[in-house]
């Protein structure tokens, strides 16, 4: 099967500048060479701790940040080589849902205006924009009569639905969900997740679901990619990665998921990581996880492990595996 989106060796470095002369004092390697494919209709969960570069990866893929290196192909077309003007049709196909529903909607625009804006930019639904806005609002479960209201009149969950409607306005194929529920109450999280799943089924959407909430990711994702300090360490089908994590970092992550049963929970064996996260500005040679890895060997501090396929679409980058 042809992937919808192919990401190859994606890199995004931020220059670290100092002083009034803006001298470059090194590069912060937020995303340092990640590769994965997205297939039509699937959800790929991208997980990792704060600061590991998952949000940067998402934003670089849609070119909100200019990439430092690598390629992203949408249906085989390299989108990093396009000019801003040529990007317009691409932007119609890849949309984004943002983390903070309080800052992702312009407080001075009505909900209708916010959604219409995207239609205007792409010249869609000319002559029947109001109807289209109504359709979209109905689709996300808000009701078309909400179009004239301002964002502050809505709750967090409702706002996130508006964000979803805005993303859907241009009929995209791929949606990058950047922590779409982490700012919401748990009870509301489930509603938004269910909405995303429904829409995926109905419209054949493909999601890149960025999150640090492992339980949510397990629920919604077909496959999961684990990121650590700008690199992917493990990619596998959802059940496999949760039941049989191979990378020591993934193992530690999985052991941190609380179990909603006090008896089992008290028996849970947690892997507590010690040591510090390496600095993304001054990366050590070898494996990035070596400074915290409980199973570290000499080799890990010298050679960077490559991603290997251990079968069944399970990829892992660790010297101790395979």
């Amino acid at each position: 099967m042809e992937p919808v989106l192919e990401v190859r060796d994606l890199q995004k470095y931020f220059p670290v500048t100092r002083g009034i002369r803006q001298k470059t004092g090194g590069m912060l390697k937020a995303v340092d060479g990640i590769s994965f494919d997205l297939y039509r209709g699937e959800t790929l969960g991208l997980v990792g701790e704060s600061g590991c570069g998952k949000t940067t990866a998402g934003r670089t893929i849609v070119r909100l940040y200019e990439p430092t290196g690598g390629t992203v192909r949408l249906h085989g077309q390299d989108i990093f080589s396009l000019s801003e003007k040529e990007m317009l049709p691409v932007r119609r196909q890849i949309q984004m849902i943002f983390q903070d529903p309080y800052s992702s909607l312009n407080p001075r625009m009505t909900v209708g205006d916010t959604i219409t804006e995207a239609l205007e930019i792409h010249g869609l639904a000319a002559g029947r924009r109001n109807e289209r806005v109504g359709e979209l609002l109905d689709m996300v479960g808000l009701g078309h009569e909400m179009a004239g209201r301002y964002p502050h009149e809505f709750s967090g969950g409702q706002r996130q639905r508006i964000g979803v409607a805005r993303a859907l306005a241009v009929e995209p194929q791929v949606i990058i969900c950047d922590e779409p529920v982490s700012a919401l109450d748990v009870s509301i999280q489930a509603q938004v997740i269910n909405l995303l799943e429904e829409l995926q089924e109905k419209l054949g959407l493909t999601y890149l679901f960025i999150s640090h909430d492992l339980a949510v990711v397990r629920h919604i994702s077909h496959r999961v990619a684990v990121m650590y300090l700008g690199k992917l360490v493990e990619v596998a089908p959802s059940d496999q990665i949760y039941d049989n994590p191979l990378h020591p970092y993934t193992e530690a992550l999985m052991s941190a998921i609380p179990i909603p049963d006090p008896k089992v929970e008290s028996q849970r064996q947690r892997i507590i990581l010690t040591g510090d996260v390496a600095s993304p500005i001054d990366l050590p040679p070898g494996c990035r996880f070596a400074s915290r890895c409980p199973k570290v060997e000499d080799r890990c501090r010298q050679e960077e492990p490559a991603m290997v396929d251990v079968g069944g679409g399970h990829l892992v980058a660790c010297h101790l595996v395979g």
């Binding site: 934003r59 849609v62 909100l64 801003e84 990007m87 317009l88 932007r91 119609r92 949309q95 984004m96 943002f98 983390q99 903070d100 800052s103 992702s104 909607l105 312009n106 407080p107 001075r108 625009m109 916010t114 804006e117 995207a118 930019i121 792409h122 301002y150 502050h152 964000g163 805005r166 241009v170």
Partner: protein
Amino acid sequence: MELEQVLYQESPMWSALRDFWRLYRKNRLAVWGLAVIAIMVIAAIFAPYLTPYHPEKPDFTALRKPPFWMPGGSLAHPLGTDHLGRDMLTRIIHGGRISLTVGLVVIFFATSVGTILGLISGYYGGRIDAVIQRIVDTLLSFPYLILATALVAVLGPGLQNMLVALAYKEWIYPCRVVRSEVLAAKNKEYVEAAKAAGAGDLHIMFREILPNVFGSVIVVATLRVAWVILMEASLSFLGLGVEPPAPAWGTIISEGRRFINTQWWISTFPGIAVLLTALGINLIGEGLRDALDPRMR
């Protein structure tokens, strides 16, 4: 359904204006401010028809008459006359033409230029921001009155030169405020969402960011109108603005200074006019800021 139809028949501009008035009206003081300024503007526009006297011609039969409630005063000159027998009320109404024109022209120019430069400066950042902000710093480091004085001294007194002397520096205030607001607004996710939708820089600057900084722009503009009118009065007071016998408020205050012990009304009434204008405009600004913010509904 019927109600909806009725509402939709109204033109959108009218209903927006009516909505706006409904919100503005909530602030009582702002309505008072608007009333005061409206009266002043109307009086200024129709000054020649409202006043029975000539604003500049002396009348030696009615020198230094006190206001009507004082012994010797009469309703023929309700606010009295000055040392050349000119009717005070007439001169203040005519003075309003000059002061309000200066205030509004200078602020209109300064706010347009300052807002656009502030948007560019904050949005693009980097070198262009550094250049604009160093110009602002430079202008900010000169004392307002002294540089305006120097400019008028070089260009010569008069209404036009005073406009230049006030406007060359006035744009930096909206510029600074807009820049800082843009810096805060441009990293909001709604700006990124617009980018992800394919919006260009101009669209983002004027449709996404500008409406969000507009509240501050209006507050700064109204505060500065009052300030510019005071500066105009100061320059005229120092003899650098509108030249006598033309009746700018500052000029009248300056002339009346010599008689402050005996004929206090010559300086006092134009002073009150300055005060009321400044206050009225500030109140309007406050009302506008609140009425334009959708969160206040």
